[in-house]
């Protein structure tokens, strides 16, 4: 089926997106459509633009959108500030989570949750309710409660940072979660726990875009669609078997020209 037939049902519709950083083009005509409830995996070589795409969706200002459009739940996404996007339900789990010494994880999370709740015209949560909620979610991602009182990601191990991203996702309850290499830096057990966390949040209308280099993650979080991003374009799309194929064959085929053949668009 083509993207167009389902336009009305899309949670995300990216159309011919071009974006650049400091004048050099990175995304060069990216198309992707995501339906509510779907999980899309994006794979592709280093430097192909996966993080750029994820950050453009989240509204990072270092990237300039040169042309194309992104509609999200019927909104013109590119017109929104990063915080508005977050409040509208977009969540980006950072490839490199930022540490903020001097702000406790708890304070950070509660500020974020209350900002989102205010936007959604829900009442703010007090410290007690917050603690209850966050404890429950911490269990979900197998995170040590001590990390709540520590400064945001400050001195966290690589794996703790990634879990912290998933914790934030669980607390903020997004509609579209974009996970940028959340699996990298995780040990096997952590990978499974994080994946279980994600799976627990799956279902209903929540959609995921999972950026990863490893098929392994996709054994746990089974995607509906797999895309290959190369040089700023999605050059191939398929189902979960595509991930296995990539695992076996790598990306050398990209150079051989048929990658440029029009492949099936994200469906």
């Amino acid at each position: 089926m083509s993207a167009h037939e389902n336009e009305g049902k899309m949670i995300l519709d990216v159309n011919n997106l071009h974006a650049s950083v400091e004048g050099s083009p990175i995304l060069k005509g990216l198309n992707l459509s995501v339906k509510p409830g779907e999980v899309h995996a994006i794979m592709g070589p280093n430097g192909s633009g996966k993080s750029t795409f994820a950050n453009v969706l989240a509204g990072r200002e270092d990237y300039t959108v040169d042309s194309g459009s992104v509609s999200y739940s019927g909104l013109d996404l590119l017109d929104l500030d990063p915080e508005e996007r977050a409040c509208e339900g977009i969540f980006l789990a950072f490839q490199y989570p930022v540490s903020i010494p001097g702000i406790s994880n708890a304070y950070f999370l509660r500020s974020a949750l209350n900002a989102v709740r205010r936007y959604r015209e829900e009442s703010e949560v007090d410290a007690v309710d917050f603690l209850q909620l966050v404890r429950e979610k911490m269990k979900l991602v197998g995170m040590d409660e001590k990390l709540l009182q520590r400064s945001v990601n400050d001195g966290f191990s690589g794996g703790e940072k990634k879990r912290n991203e998933i914790l934030q996702m669980a607390v903020l309850d997004p509609k579209l979660a974009i996970l940028d290499e959340t699996d990298s830096g995780l040990d096997i057990d952590a990978l499974r726990i994080v994946a279980e966390g994600v799976n627990a949040l799956r279902g209903g209308d929540r959609a995921f875009i999972v950026v990863t280099h490893y098929q392994r993650l996709l054994d746990y979080i089974v995607p509906d669609h797999v895309h290959v991003l190369s040089e700023g374009q999605i050059v191939r799309s398929g189902d979960k078997t595509l991930a296995h194929e990539l695992e076996r064959e790598g990306y050398s085929w990209l150079e051989s020209g048929h990658a440029r053949e029009k492949t099936q668009e994200a469906s």
């Binding site: 500030d81 990063p82 915080e83 950072f94 903020i100 010494p101 001097g102 702000i103 500020s111 903020l172």
Partner: protein
Amino acid sequence: MSTETVDPWHAMLSQQVADSAGAHSSLDQRRQSASEMFQQSGFPTRKHEEWRYTPLKSVAQGEYSALLPADGVLPGDDELATTSDIRIVLINGRFRDDLSDLTALPDEVSIRGLAGMLAENPDFVSESIDRLIPSDDHPFQNLADVFLCDGLVIEAQGKTDARIHIVHAQDGSTSSGSSHVSGLVRLSGGAKIEILEEFRSRGTTLANIRWGMEIGSGCEFSRQRVVRPGCDVLYHGTRVQVEGNAVFRDLIAGSGSRLVRNEIHAILSGPEGHVDLLGGYVSNGDEIVDHHTVIEHAVEDCTSREIYRGVLGGESRGAFTGMIHVHQDAQRTDAEQSNDAILLSRSAEMNTRPRLEIYADDVKCTHGATVGELDDESLFYLRSRGVGLEEARRMLVRAFTAEVFEDLENEALKEQFIEQLQEAMPAAGESKS
């Protein structure tokens, strides 16, 4: 009358010296010599090394030269979350018995208005001032000597633990001017005193406040100072002698005042003493915040720590001058100094001058200074979680000054300090350029 303009300050000083002559010989003498020094040197210009970043031109011009009226009304009514039940109010430099509450004062502690002491026992005042605040050709010290009339004398002897809230209020609502306060502190016998010193002002006012302190062996003196918005001009000077095993801690938080000059001269004169100087501020518009510290490690085995953090917007200017003087005998000194600033606009400015003079050889002295901008990565991270731009900026002020406030045990007070700084944070749009 001569046609040549008389410097309003000089006129005031001559008047004051004449008016108070004959009260007490050694105080008279000090007043006389301070007046002479001031008539000679006046207010320093920016050519003067120690005052390079503190322009006193507007202060020198005379708007402040009159004394603030002896009566006045306490400006502002939002109270700090202090845990102290001892409250002292000074308005326009006068100790106000009627607004102060000393009923909870433990027996080991005495607090007296300086005016009362001057009347009762001028020798004691004279001798204490000479010892705790040696005469010095310093513009504000000179003024404090000439206009010496009121202040506080705090003495604690023996094992005691008192928390005292001091409000210095300037009420310039009927006329502009200055007030001059001298405070004397003497702790001995292991006393522990905690002071919350608060500055408030309304109108065009100059508060000239100086303290001389002796923290005896094994005693602890902790002070939190908060410069409330609207303080106009504040000079605050502290000279403190810290004896063996004694601790002097100071924290100053502030925002929204035209000019703040904070001077601390701490002398570690007995082994195993500790000095802790902390400061956090947000400035905006054309405000000036100048922290000027001297820590003298006179003997061995003492430690000191200094952390100053400022967020500067608009065309405001910050200065930090931090001298650490390690005397020859002060082996095993451990001194740590850091001064960091975030500039929110291109016209804001920070000047940092660490000065280390080390004459001992077994010494650990570290100092660091940074000037940066608000971190875009952190801002984006917060915003990507739904936190609005302004709130995100305020959170980063909290983060930046966290280390300054982290040891403050009174959580509610800590929140008030941090919130005051956050409130002073200029909005994103205002701070560019």
